[in-house]
Symmetry: C2
Subunit: 492 residues, 2 copies
């Protein structure tokens, strides 16, 4: 372990923090609570964005851009939403600095440039967007309105963790408007499916799809759907949410439309988002004690070629073979890096690319040249294989699929092994403390019981799963009747 | 003119404002000075982003993301930069709202949540980025550092105009660090070339490349290079800038590196940016009294097919032909919209797509079906042509190039006709008031003269052109000797 990463079994949390930094993904900035996303971390985000953006467009959505600032009067229009976010809002109160007369070379806020109305830095954009939709929607012909925005948002946080919880983060937020309740619910669920597909097919992370309990709902929504992933330490991570807003925002911002019959009604809304938090999920779902493990579909570099050489002549010979291989792979849309630097050793490079989670490593040395072979190592299983160079391209193309599937299957197996049905509160607590993971248990449906369980065990209801099975049972806490099991877990 | 656009000759400024709104590009928001970029406008920005991002990556740059907020102490570290932006900074002073006890349902800034140090919403990111680079750069091996960021920035503006001048805007900002002065200057000029290429090859807008005079320089730079375009009203528009920062930011943030010889030195820096302002430039450079004229390379939809039909049966027959054509064009990477709506007339659609600047319109009616023809209209020249459908695909592919070139050539011709050499201050003023455009005149090189001319005529030195020709002359204002002509204009 050249890179000296703490082992997951020793301290999972420290392993995560170290990995994020050592793999050059992100770091804390000089600005309290805000992160710098470094080029390698950002390139993973770019891959995520590209895949998601295509999925949004394929389902009929367009991108747009709305202001960063929300005037306080708009912000407070939808009361529940305002209440939910008020405590974590960065607020702009002034629009100018001036020279500080008492401190040469220093600046101070100019008291004469106080805003008449304070501006909230958006923690989410429902308010500013619905105040705009009011002017965009008059008739059923203007509906549905299917818009997405890629943006930064700010939610003031005292305790932050890179990617998982930061004051500023990057995300996308979809905001749609519909003529009927049914359409809005269908949209909410469609976007949940898009998120689940993305998580499973691109991130190789199995997720449970479900609905939040009332107390875990988005502030201002009638229903919050979510996808929940399981991290290797047995904690759950909410990876995306899709909200059915009912007519709440339409009423708060007076957004009405005339139907085909000429009757006016309030518009039905949805909103849905995923954020740079997904990078945290990706790391924690798959990576190991040697570093990142990236699914090929999101790996910025899918294949790295490391030459093993002494002297320039050998490097030149290997380069010819390597560049030819690189070209063939690129024709198949496989991204390849040929690391021909002579400033670091092959061993150092091996550790480095292991740390960075490059799915496939090819090593080519002088003996390979003689034998017409290459050594191919896969990051996920750490298997190495020497094979004829003529077979390498086909093999690697197949590996792209195999590795993607294997990572998914491994995570799926882990989740299966760490999903436990319990029927008593004692067992519930025992499982949480010894094994963690998802705990499937009966719940009486009340917020009171949910709160008590949370207070006593730190476990929350992650969701009522969409594949909820009706089953008579008794609430593990209150003993009252329950119609089926919900998903509990401790969570990020 | 179904859309009732003011003519450019009547009121250019109003024409612009109307066009931006009627073509669904952008609108003012409820937030003072901030705009909403509507889906159609944003899709132009997406095309620009894609092209620029590729150019940045092809020249070795990576994307990253740095915080929105700049603590005041960092912001003021580079004094000139701070001074330059202090008067237009949005400042976050509090991090929480609370219920207003005097106004039920209203919120107020929580005085107990006052930040110890105020946060400036980035007007540009040199400060926050160079404070980060300090930790990233130790040795010459860490250089060059070539990073770009796509982000929103805020510069408080009292008088705003959609795309051209708004409090918040979207942009990219490149920030690079180098071991030598020569490398940094080469980078600055390379990025200027990238911008000029983009303007000319994608936006079809000819630009003058040059260097700013000292008073027009970016605050904190040693040199500011720029590209200047000419709008149809004869005003100039600065479309992109690339700054050679010298060691200013390195010194302000103590960013040093150890050279190969072990000696420590400050790092050399550059920064460069273009913004959503380019959309304003694109509109004003090419569009006409019927609406937008978009160069094919940046048109979100390149071809629209409008069926001319009565009844469903005719529509079905036309659709078969249209969809076949669409498929063939899409195979050539030409984006096509088939507008088969029966809720608006062909005439309405023609006006709509003219307004939106779709480069090529295809109309197919019942007679075309009989004759095996289509009508092809190009937006730039408004020429229409009926041709055999078998030739349409080839013809349209060629049109993509022809239209792109024609738009460029037209703008180039306009600029040529509106670039005037003058040798006296009277002529200078006369040209500005009657013809406008770029005025090439001798200048004595002093800020004093520059200021006077600006004060008296509102014309500024746009740049000292890179293709500056040495030529003995006398300053039009002071009569003092001058070594060549610089570019004056009134500008956006």
């Amino acid at each position: 372990m050249a890179k000296g990463l703490t082992k997951r079994s020793e301290d999972y949390s420290q392993w995560y923090n170290e990995l994020v930094k050592k793999a050059d993904l992100a770091e804390h900035s000089a600005v309290r609570g805000c992160m710098v996303i470094k080029p390698y971390g950002f390139s993973i985000w770019e891959k995520m964005q590209a895949a998601l953006d295509k999925m949004f467009k394929d389902t009929g959505h367009s991108n747009a851009y709305f202001p960063l600032f929300v005037p306080k009067s708009l912000f407070e229009a939808e009361e529940k939403n305002a209440e939910g976010f008020a405590k974590e809002c960065a607020v702009v109160t002034h629009y100018r600095l001036k020279n500080d007369p008492d401190n040469k070379g220093k600046l101070m806020v100019d008291p004469e440039a106080k805003l008449e109305e304070e501006l909230v830095v958006r923690p989410t954009s429902e308010a500013v967007i619905w105040s705009t939709y009011k002017n965009w929607i008059q008739s059923y012909r203007d509906l549905p309105l299917l818009i997405n925005q890629w943006a930064n948002v700010v939610r003031w946080e005292m305790r932050t963790r890179l990617f998982l919880r930061t004051a500023e983060f990057l995300w996308q937020e979809g905001h749609t408007a519909h003529a009927t309740k049914g359409e809005a619910i269908a949209e909410t669920r469609q976007m949940l499916e898009v998120y689940a597909d993305f998580a499973e097919k691109f991130m190789a992370m199995p997720v449970i799809k479900g609905v939040k309990s009332e107390s875990e709902r988005f502030a201002g929504a009638l229903d919050t759907y979510c996808i929940e992933g399981l991290m290797q330490d047995g904690k759950a991570l909410q990876a995306g949410t899709s909200h059915f807003l009912g007519q709440n925002f339409a009423k708060a911002f007076d957004v009405k439309f005339a139907g085909k019959d000429g009757k006016e009604d309030y518009v039905w809304g949805t909103s849905w988002g995923v954020s740079t938090r997904l990078i945290g999920a990706l790391i924690m779902a798959h990576s190991d004690d040697e570093g990142l493990v990236l699914p090929p579909k999101l790996a910025p570099i899918q294949v790295v070629i490391v030459p093993i050489f002494k002297g320039e002549e050998q490097l030149n010979e290997i380069s010819t073979v390597a560049l030819n291989l690189k070209e063939q792979l690129q024709k198949l849309d496989i991204s390849v890096k040929f690391d021909n630097r002579d400033t670091s050793s092959p061993g150092w490079k091996f550790a480095e690319y292991e740390l960075k989670g490059i799915p496939v490593r090819i090593a080519i040395g002088p003996r390979d040249l003689e034998n017409g072979t290459v050594e191919i190592a896969r990051r996920d299983t750490k298997e190495k294989q020497v094979m004829a160079i003529d077979s390498a391209v086909d093999h690697i193309q197949k590996l792209m699929t195999d590795i993607q599937e294997n990572i998914y299957n491994k995570a799926f197996g882990f989740r299966k092994d760490n999903t436990t049905e319990v029927d008593s509160y004692d067992d519930f607590k025992k499982v949480l403390d010894t094994k963690a993971g998802f705990v499937m248990a009966h719940w009486d449906g009340t917020a009171e019981t949910e709160d008590k369980i949370k207070e006593e065990t730190k476990a929350t209801i992650r969701c009522i799963p969409l594949d909820f099975k009706e089953e008579e049972g008794k609430c593990i806490y209150s003993g009252k009747p329950s119609k089926g099991r919900v998903v509990f877990a401790r969570a990020y």
